[in-house]
Symmetry: C2
């Protein structure tokens, strides 16, 4: 198997399944989102809607910037704002059957790519780490 055979494999072959992906919902509070982000250790995680469709991403920096004021950080306002009102909706998605070459192209500018079912529900994510690990194996040979 050479690198071009690897990159024509389907996206689902390299994804972390949705069950193992930390995520939050559009109606959750920013307080809850910050808890999930800091406990998981991830700097950004997917945001889903009630049908588990991918709606956006939420970053720790984005949450902190939302409550940063001239006189300090208003952490008490985190429980009054929802994830949906501040999340970034620049989230790259791929279908399970799309080739990994497409995931590599998207990974240049995104730290992870969401893999979705035909109806938009989250199936899993492909991370830069997984792609880099594989590419390293192929280029060394």
């Amino acid at each position: 198997v050479d690198v071009s055979q690897f990159l024509s494999q389907p996206a689902e072959s390299l994804m972390i399944a949705a069950d193992n992906v930390a995520c939050v919902y559009v109606d959750h509070t920013l307080e809850h989102a910050l808890l999930v982000l800091t406990h998981s250790g991830y700097s950004a995680i997917p945001v889903l809607d009630t049908q588990s469709a991918v709606r956006g991403l939420i970053h720790t920096n984005l949450v902190i910037n939302t409550v940063a004021g001239l006189d300090g950080y208003h952490m008490e306002s985190l429980s009054h704002q929802t994830v949906g009102s501040v999340m970034s909706d620049r989230v790259p998605t791929l279908r399970r059957s799309e080739p990994l070459l497409k995931a590599l192209e998207l990974a240049i500018n995104h730290t992870f790519i969401c893999v979705v079912e035909e109806d938009g529900r989250l199936a899993g994510i492909i991370t830069r780490k997984a792609l880099l690990g594989k590419l390293y194996q192929y280029v060394r040979e």
Copy 2:
């Protein structure tokens, strides 16, 4: 030029120069570090000592976790703690002349690699984005 010629090029050929790298110093407060992290938008940045040698990394999640308590976030204590006391010292470094293949290997588990001078001073960083962008160009041909 094929991919193996690219990967035998020196690390300095793909780095962002130190002048353009957001960083903080070991003696800075966590309050200052959080400001630099949230204003730059980066989730982790290098920590330098007074001789500009690389000493560690600081992440936004790490700063928030430091002040997270059972009854909320104690942001006022950020100004009483130094970066050096909480930073993570797991920071991969390379010298300018080391090959990009080594940077690729380190980038599997690190979002960026610090390139250092012989005396340990920061010369620049190599990002996963830069490596992925180049690799994509080579594998598409």
